[in-house]
């Protein structure tokens, strides 16, 4: 399946590049509409906006996320320590093999996407050139892997990820993570934090794919820009802004996700490897789900 997807994507890319070889969407006649519009009040001002944001903020914000979030979690770990659950209870089967394979794909892609993304952002400190160029291409290839995983993931977890009352309560107590006390936290199969991460990773992820793909292909002539009533270059500018802004959130949540699964909850990583969660963990962290399971069993 993966290979087929790669072929499909590659073929469409080739088509796109052939289409634009004839008449560039950026440097052809369209260049004119772009130039007089740049920086004018009545225009969208995406050019100056992008320049302003990228020139002044994006890199600093990424640096803040890269250093800040791990630092916060380090403090959290030191102050509250990990949550430890009994391994003596029953093990509950929560993730099917298919779930796990897909998640693995997504995980692999993220492990590539995030560092390579950072390599691009901080390319200057790496001296640019071949290293960062490869990082950029790797970023693109990993996107294909992610694209393959995101759709099934979206489909099989969609229903359980729909918002519920529990989530509000969960957010009020921040999942109980700001306490050393072991308590039952209101949550279904997935808690409020996981749900936000899910929606960000799927819908946000799709937006990231589209904006990233646009920037990667750049001079594609599919009439998309025209359809949106904007010039190709403005579309690209918008893509760059959106891609960066979304990346802040995605990266932040990705770090959180990693911290939770690896450090904050001892052994929780196993569930996505084996498919089973400790009963104790489910009982405390996904109390509503646990109750539901019990009822089903009784019945």
């Amino acid at each position: 399946m993966t290979r087929r997807a790669i072929i499909v994507v590659a073929a469409s890319m080739m088509l796109a590049s052939a289409a634009c070889a004839a008449d560039s969407q950026i440097w052809g006649g369209m260049i004119i509409t772009n130039i007089p519009e740049y920086g004018k009040d009545q225009s969208r001002n995406l050019g100056p906006l992008f320049t302003y944001l990228q020139g002044n903020f994006f890199r600093s914000i990424f640096l803040g996320i890269l250093l800040g979030i791990p630092a916060v979690f380090l403090c959290h770990y030191l102050v509250f320590g990990p949550k430890v659950f009994s391994h003596d209870g029953e093990r509950i089967y929560v993730f099917t093999l298919f779930n796990r394979i897909i998640h693995l794909l997504a995980a692999v892609s993220f492990v590539i996407l995030v560092p390579t993304g950072f390599m691009i952002v901080f390319g200057a400190y790496l001296g640019g050139g071949a290293l960062v160029t490869y990082a950029r291409h790797l970023h693109g290839i990993a996107t294909i892997v992610f694209a393959v995983s995101v759709v099934p993931m979206f489909v099989f977890w969609f229903v359980e990820m729909l918002p519920a009352m529990d989530d509000i309560k969960w957010f009020f107590m921040l999942g109980g993570y700001l306490s050393r006390k072991k308590q039952e936290v209101p949550a279904g199969k997935f808690n409020g934090g996981q749900k936000v991460w899910f929606w960000l990773a799927t819908i946000g992820g799709l937006v990231m794919i589209v904006t990233g793909g646009a920037m990667y292909l750049q001079d594609f002539g599919l009439g998309i820009a025209g359809g949106l009533g904007m010039s190709q270059i403005d579309l690209l500018r918008l893509a760059a802004i959106v891609h960066n802004l979304l990346a802040f959130a995605v990266v932040a949540f990705f770090f959180t996700h990693v911290y939770m699964s690896l450090f904050a909850i001892k052994g929780s990583i196993n569930s996505i490897i084996t498919g089973y969660k400790e009963e104790d963990e489910v009982k405390h962290l996904h109390s509503s789900y646990y109750r539901k399971l019990k009822q089903v069993r009784k019945a």
Partner: protein, 188 residues
């Protein structure tokens, strides 16, 4: 300019430009650019409408506050003391940010391979080459001729059929243009 240093600028007098493409072809030919890469472009606005039609030649304008230089994630741009904005192709990763920032659509990206991915950015160097050794074969290969180092004017402005395209110190360019406009009198 604050320190009295000249700032090299291009200016295209639209009352003179006749869309003859000399600048564009001269540039491609001198620097042996692949077809499809046009460091310099000529475009016509309002074509066919008497009184409104004009043509203009566009390339990198070597901005004082070059937006491309501000957005480059790998800092491949550098601005010479005379204001010429150049870049290091060995550093460039082809991300396209400079293109998004540029008001003039100057940065160009060659297509490398079947995937249509972008190679290192290419743009007008004002015929001043790049960071490689001056007039070396490597510099010529990556950036084209370094006419400035030879004491020559950029080929596009040198060749301009109607002297529409001017290049030089910003103040002097504007003096020439002012002189043209004032001698034109009130006619037209």
């Amino acid at each position: 300019m604050s320190n009295g240093q000249a700032r090299m600028k291009f200016y295209c007098d639209t009352t003179r430009c006749i869309e003859c493409f000399a600048c564009s072809v001269a540039c491609s030919e001198a620097h042996e650019l692949p077809v499809g890469i046009s460091r310099r472009k000529v475009v016509t606005m309002h074509e066919g409408i008497p009184g409104k039609e004009y043509s203009i030649s566009i390339a990198c304008m070597h901005c004082t506050d070059a937006p491309c230089e501000q957005v480059c994630p790998v800092d491949c741009f550098y601005i010479r003391e005379d204001g010429i904005v150049l870049h290091d192709k060995n550093k460039c990763i082809g991300c396209g940010y400079c293109l998004y920032a540029c008001p003039f659509g100057a940065p160009q990206f060659p297509r490398d391979g079947a995937f249509g991915t972008k190679g290192a950015m290419d743009k007008c160097t004002m015929c001043a080459g790049g960071p490689e050794e001056t007039n070396s074969a490597r510099e010529r290969h990556l950036y084209g001729h370094n006419r400035i180092a030879e004491g020559k004017v950029p080929i596009c402005a040198a060749v301009c059929a109607t002297n529409a395209l001017l290049v030089g110190d910003a103040e002097e360019v504007s003096t020439i243009y002012r002189k043209r406009v004032s001698s034109r009198g009130k006619g037209a």
